[in-house]
């Protein structure tokens, strides 16, 4: 047996799905057409750009522009094609009922998810590989080195893989191809648009302050070679990009894995495990950023604020995901939940909802303790957030406490509660305005203590409010709301426990 044959066999045995998917893809006209169209698109954009910069500029400047154009377009195409392929990868099998045969095989959900992910990534990676000859045009102009090209290629592949993972995660969680494509397209378009804009803005500033030869969104390609190897290099050019790729990538993998588990297994477990691993990593990176780079008190409070927003969003998403799990753990779940994980990762609907609450509350509390312990506003917001999550999880637990109750009831109550608390205050203000009243002071409104947090999370995300802008009225509202929601949380969880027993 030749060495090549041995390698081929080893790859096939590692995950037979990859080979089968690639074989099928290469024989599918739609896939071939998608690759050809992508290449023509990239080639056309690069050719038009090359023609437009050929006159009146130094060739090396034109080379840098072409470098940005080539990788910008390639990255866009990779993410677009990767997420679309990913979005159809599992759900098409579900629709065609070929997924049953995979479920019954010895592969298991983990290997199926990994195989699908690898196959989608590899079939997407053909695009930049086949587009490599176009780089010849870029290098003709000069201005970029082989190192720049290598770094940009690695980034395109890594974030293309994250896009593919997002598609596969959605594909494992929905029941129709149409739903999968509909769900993936808007977030991907939004993320590409926002991510591109942020990267361009940051790149301009960073390149100017560090005298990098490449500006704009691909500034990092030069940063790897131009900056000194120090803590800042390790933090911003190694750890931060790794975190940026691995955190969402592993979350998407966990969601895909959960979507492939059968009804007797605990589908909440992969996400819980991800949360327990990703949160300390995120906090450690944030700590390193706060210690190794000059950060003002305002910066640290801003960091705590951002982490709080992320934790609340994640905990809320977990609540809605976990509401769909079986009310009573199956015997298999009970058998599989052994060892130290048993207490940390409880199975069943009510314990899982409580896990999401505690996860959110603890993460928010840790973020504040680590970065903004001296800020009274952050302490108040932490208390408010923990109590609010407790009440929300309690309400959802109460509405899904019995075996005969579907997950839909719990989710519906959660949505209504979020809507009322998040939008209610603004609606009251709007009605008062329409009624001819003066512009109301929202934070002094009687409903403010109960309706503040989601509104604040939104404002925080938009960077519209900073903690030092917090007034005495807001502080009072936060602490009053925290007390009310904490009481509600205790009552609702007690009622849910009692209702579940009857």
């Amino acid at each position: 047996m030749s060495a090549l044959q041995r390698i081929s066999d080893a790859l096939r045995d590692a995950n037979p799905i990859v080979r089968k998917e690639l074989l099928a893809a290469l024989r599918t006209p739609l896939y071939v057409r998608a690759v050809v169209v992508s290449l023509v698109f990239v080639g056309t954009v690069v050719a038009l750009s090359a023609a437009s910069i050929a006159d009146g500029r130094e060739p090396w400047e034109g080379g840098k522009t072409l470098f940005q154009v080539f990788f910008g377009v390639t990255f866009f195409v990779m993410v677009l094609v990767g997420t679309t392929f990913g979005a159809t990868s599992i759900v098409q099998e579900r629709e065609a009922r070929t997924l049953d045969a995979l479920t019954l095989s010895a592969l298991g959900p983990r290997r199926v998810a990994r195989g699908k992910l690898a196959a989608v990534f590899l079939s997407t990676a053909f695009i930049p590989v086949l587009a490599l000859p176009l780089l010849g045009v870029v290098t003709v102009f000069g201005g970029v080195t082989a190192g720049h090209l290598a770094v940009a290629t690695v980034y395109a592949l890594v974030f293309g893989a994250v896009g593919a993972a997002f598609g596969v995660a959605v594909s494992a969680s929905v029941s129709t191809t149409r739903a999968a494509v509909t769900v993936t397209a808007p977030p991907v378009a939004l993320a590409t648009l926002i991510g591109g804009s942020v990267l361009t803005a940051v790149g301009e500033q960073y390149a100017r302050s560090h005298a990098l030869s490449i500006r704009g969104p691909l500034f990092f390609a030069d940063a790897y070679f131009a900056l000194p190897l120090d803590r800042s290099y390790l933090l911003w050019l190694v750890l931060a990009p790794l975190w940026l790729a691995l955190t969402p990538g592993t979350l998407f993998y966990a969601v895909a894995h959960a979507g492939l588990l059968d009804a007797t297994q605990d589908a909440t477990r992969p996400v819980k495990r991800w949360a327990l691993a990703a949160t300390p990593a995120t906090l450690a990176l944030a700590l390193a950023a706060a210690r190794w780079t000059p950060a003002s008190t305002s910066d640290r409070v801003g960091l705590a604020w951002s982490l709080t927003g992320a934790a609340v969003t994640l905990a809320t998403a977990m609540l809605f995901h976990f509401a769909g799990t079986a009310r009573t753990p199956t015997r298999r779940m009970a058998r599989e939940h052994t060892g130290p994980w048993r207490a940390l990762l409880p199975a069943g609907r009510i314990p899982s909802l409580r896990f999401a609450w505690l996860y959110g509350a603890l993460t928010v509390a840790l973020s504040t303790a680590l970065f903004a312990a001296g800020s009274p506003a952050m302490r108040a917001l932490t208390a408010w957030t923990a109590a609010f999550l407790g009440a929300l999880s309690g309400l959802m637990a109460l509405r899904g406490a019995r075996d005969d109750e579907s997950s839909g009831a719990a989710r519906l109550h959660g949505v209504v509660a979020l809507f009322v608390t998040g939008v209610g205050l603004w609606l009251v203000a709007l009605l008062q305005q329409l009624g001819g009243g003066t512009h109301p002071d929202l934070l002094a409104h009687p409903t403010a203590p109960l309706a503040l947090s989601p509104t604040w999370a939104l404002l925080a995300a938009l960077q519209a409010v900073r903690p030092h802008d917090v007034t005495a009225d807001t502080m009072r509202a936060l602490w009053t709301g925290a007390g009310l929601y904490a009481a509600a949380a205790l009552v609702l969880h007690a009622l849910a426990s009692r209702r579940g027993r009857t």
Binding site: D9, R12, D13, P16, I17, R19, K20, L23, A24, A25, R27, T28, E93, E95, A96, R97, T98, D100, A101, L102, T103, L104, S105, A106, L107, D262, A263, T264, T330, R331, R332, R335, S406
Partner: protein, 316 residues
């Protein structure tokens, strides 16, 4: 080999299975009969570990489907009713993929594929792309995939649906040889004639409830006590009842409508008697000796359509 007790499954407010209890002994070919929506597919999917029962227990080879689904999957081969199949790979690649996915060791894989190919007689199709195979050929390929890991229990959901008559006959022969190999087979169909020659026992399912189950003869005896045969004579039909009345084990003799026979002076009867096939031979001898121009004796033994209609309340 297969034991279901109080098996219940609900989809939202709809009860698809309602307390189904039956047993299939080792080596039995068990036919699940019922109209569309009766709960056949739900039962088979529960046994294949693709659905969890809402209540009740199901065991395959002594393994509980909820406790150890992986253990059940190792001994079960499942062929769904409307299975998709990967279109853009060849039949050989398809089987190689599933042999690998089933965890069959590399050195044993070739042998496993060869055995399944030989049994299902798809050797000539191996180099063809799956999308180019006919419905019957795909069905054979699916069955070959189902047999790759040499399961001791086969769960086949409507295996002959949409097949042409020739493919149906071939499939019947194939299942018969699998039965002879000692495999326990549970297959479902809403086409009763399809099962008649293949099954040693049956279960009749209607609206999620099991009406009856057991060996065909036993089910027949329970539902319609006594045996039945149709007798056709071309001469003196009026003498048939008096000829048979001499035998104390004959329970009834009823004339059936047959305009063509009646017009030609003949007649057809349904005879019911207690006892075994030897008693029927005595009746045949008596009818032949009576010089009635006896031309046909058709025992009713495996008339599943009648049994089904009778069991579900639609029988004459």
């Amino acid at each position: 080999m297969i034991e279901c007790e109080g098996l219940t499954h609900t989809f939202g407010a709809r009860t698809a299975l309602d307390g189904v209890t039956f047993t299939v002994p080792k080596g039995e070919v068990f036919g699940f009969i019922g109209p569309n929506g009766a709960g056949k597919t739900t039962t088979i999917r529960i046994l294949a570990t693709l659905l969890a029962p809402t209540a009740g227990t199901a065991r395959v080879g002594g393994i509980d489907v909820r406790e150890d689904p992986e253990g059940v999957r190792r001994i079960v081969g499942y062929m769904p009713d409307t299975a998709g199949i990967y279109e853009r790979i060849t039949a050989a690649e398809y089987l190689d993929f599933f042999a690998s996915a089933m965890g069959i060791a590399r050195d044993a894989r070739r042998g496993a594929i060869d055995r399944a190919v030989e049994l299902t007689e798809i050797g000539a199709l191996l180099d063809r792309e799956v999308s180019a195979l006919s419905k019957g050929q795909r069905q054979r390929l699916l069955l070959a995939r189902t047999l790759l890991h040499d399961p001791s229990v086969l769960l086949l959901d409507e295996p002959a649906s949409d097949l042409d008559p020739r493919a149906r006959i071939e499939l019947r022969q194939l299942l018969a040889s699998l039965g002879r190999m000692g495999k326990t087979i549970l297959l479902s169909s809403h086409i009763l004639t399809e099962l008649a020659d293949m099954c040693s026992s049956i279960g009749i399912l209607e609206r999620g409830r099991l009406v009856t189950a057991g060996p065909i003869d036993a089910v027949q005896s329970a539902l319609r006590p006594g045996r039945r045969a149709r007798v056709t004579v071309l001469r003196d039909p009026a003498r048939v009842p008096e000829t048979l009345a001499r035998f104390t084990f004959v329970k009834s003799t009823a004339r059936l409508d047959d305009a063509e026979l009646d017009a030609h002076g003949g007649g057809r009867f349904e005879v019911s008697w207690e006892g075994d096939a030897w008693r029927l031979s005595e009746l045949v001898a008596a009818l032949a000796a009576a010089d009635l121009a006896l031309i046909a004796v058709e025992p009713e033994r495996r008339d599943l359509e009648r049994l089904f209609l009778h069991a579900t309340g639609g029988a004459p």
